[in-house]
Symmetry: C2
Subunit: 339 residues, 2 copies
Amino acid sequence: MKGIGRKTWTSMLLALAIASGNVLAQTDPLPSWNDGAAKKAIVAFVETTTTQGSANFVPPAERIATFDQDGTLWVEHPIYSQVMYCLDRVPALVKAKPELANVEPFKTVMSGDRAAIAKLPTPELMKILVATLTGMSTEDFSAEVKKWLASAKDPRWKRPYTDLTFLPMQEVLRYLRANDYKTFIVTGGGQDFVRTYAEEVYGVPPEQVVGTMGATSLHYDKNGRPYLVKDPKLLLNDDKAGKVEGIHLMIGRRPHAAFGNTAGDQQMLEYTGAGDGARLMMLVLHDDAKREYAYGPAAGLPATRVGTFTQALYDEAMKKGWTVISMQRDWKQIFSFEK
Amino acid sequence: MKGIGRKTWTSMLLALAIASGNVLAQTDPLPSWNDGAAKKAIVAFVETTTTQGSANFVPPAERIATFDQDGTLWVEHPIYSQVMYCLDRVPALVKAKPELANVEPFKTVMSGDRAAIAKLPTPELMKILVATLTGMSTEDFSAEVKKWLASAKDPRWKRPYTDLTFLPMQEVLRYLRANDYKTFIVTGGGQDFVRTYAEEVYGVPPEQVVGTMGATSLHYDKNGRPYLVKDPKLLLNDDKAGKVEGIHLMIGRRPHAAFGNTAGDQQMLEYTGAGDGARLMMLVLHDDAKREYAYGPAAGLPATRVGTFTQALYDEAMKKGWTVISMQRDWKQIFSFEK
């Protein structure tokens, strides 16, 4: 039995692996969360839906969790990062089409007057979005977004926008995936925009990003190579009822868990909660002016352009037993770059 | 060292597990395929894209394979199963709306005159599809399709339509998945229709079914429970160029392998083939009148309503090195119910 020495080694390594597995299983999957109702709700949900024999057991194939992005997974205040991208693209756009320099809303954006830009009405802002998010190939768009993400910085933290994800939510994503949940982003942001970084930043692959969708059309270059062009035609506005429609379109199953932070997520949480068995519905409340921001009616503050956590949504959450996550009280640490 | 006995057992079990893994790896993953160019192309593609260190290695997250359904994964001749479903739904529709009994094309369908039904022009057929595929909740629709699938039978084989999948293609699906490929169905058929059985029949979950997509809208019942209604509004016709647009919309990555059988799959294969590294493009040729059907110009036969494998597509396949699968020569067995 010459092999016994090696086999003993193998068995010891195996025993060690099992032992460390046990140790890992006992470590806290949500270390950035303070002990409290929110953390308890997440852990209880995962345990009851993944324990064989539990009345709430969900087969792995059906484990779907959906996450809003802006304000839920990363900072949305004072302006969505994608809107910053679009504003930053305006100079290149005007360079390519000089006739736009004297046309609103491009003129205001080119003026650099931040206060005036912030006051642009939504239909004017939409013109900027359409002009900067459509009309190019999907490949050129993706390359442009990646270039921007590598250089643009949030003015408050002086860091790339992709650094501004919430560590506690990253832990929830990983914890759910470790328990065989498929995690989807369901965002009002552009599907193609979010897909450029979702895999690297959140571990969410492109096919699990559901966002606002535009039509594309197939073209061929002079060598006969096919490519897709982003057309200025909206297929689905992935906000409010559109989030439920987007979930049906892209996933085709009702989620067991859904996370949001505004009235734009209300229908997604209602739809999730209307299913049988254990369901987890959570809303992030931005009530931490010091470490992040405090805004919106649910925090007793005025509504803002972004993230409207209305009083009505807060009341519905209380009535239906959805869990409100207080950034101030529930999160020990907000960003991974904090000490 | 009391534990040594158990550890030796463990190590022996481990060694056994490794050994049986090797045995499994050596068994033929495609037993229903005759040895030939088609089978060789599939095996070579899987090996070159999944072997660490290979110049063509594809990271697991990027392993995407797309399959047309009708005529590629199951029988499409003489009529698509989904169209049979729609025709079978007409009596119930007329019962609910008696005024349709004397309106074309419903009148012809109610007459039961098969020859006349087969001759209905496409726009008339579309009216039947819209009337039977929209206007109900997604839940009611799914329940209705499941009920139909459980009772309807193909007239030639006297078996449920879901028995008529091609065993060799089922083996390809499993072989690719065993090698960490995510398998997607990309079909001109209705996305909601195919999702009702794709997981059970093909092992493809709803979120990996890309099909012709219709809009839905969110409603609430009198108890405030949200539900989705299928609207008569087309979002994307998942055929020809639409297959590429559907792949971008639903997957967001270029496939590494694509399987089809008609001119409706041409653009999907072109798009797949336009990527870097090793790519696999395959077309099923229906040239087996005895065991299945022989039809279409590429088989030297007239075009049919279904499955137009045009001569132009055949020529493009030859020119670009796509592999044509001859059902007659490449498939040892076509259906799993054959002896």
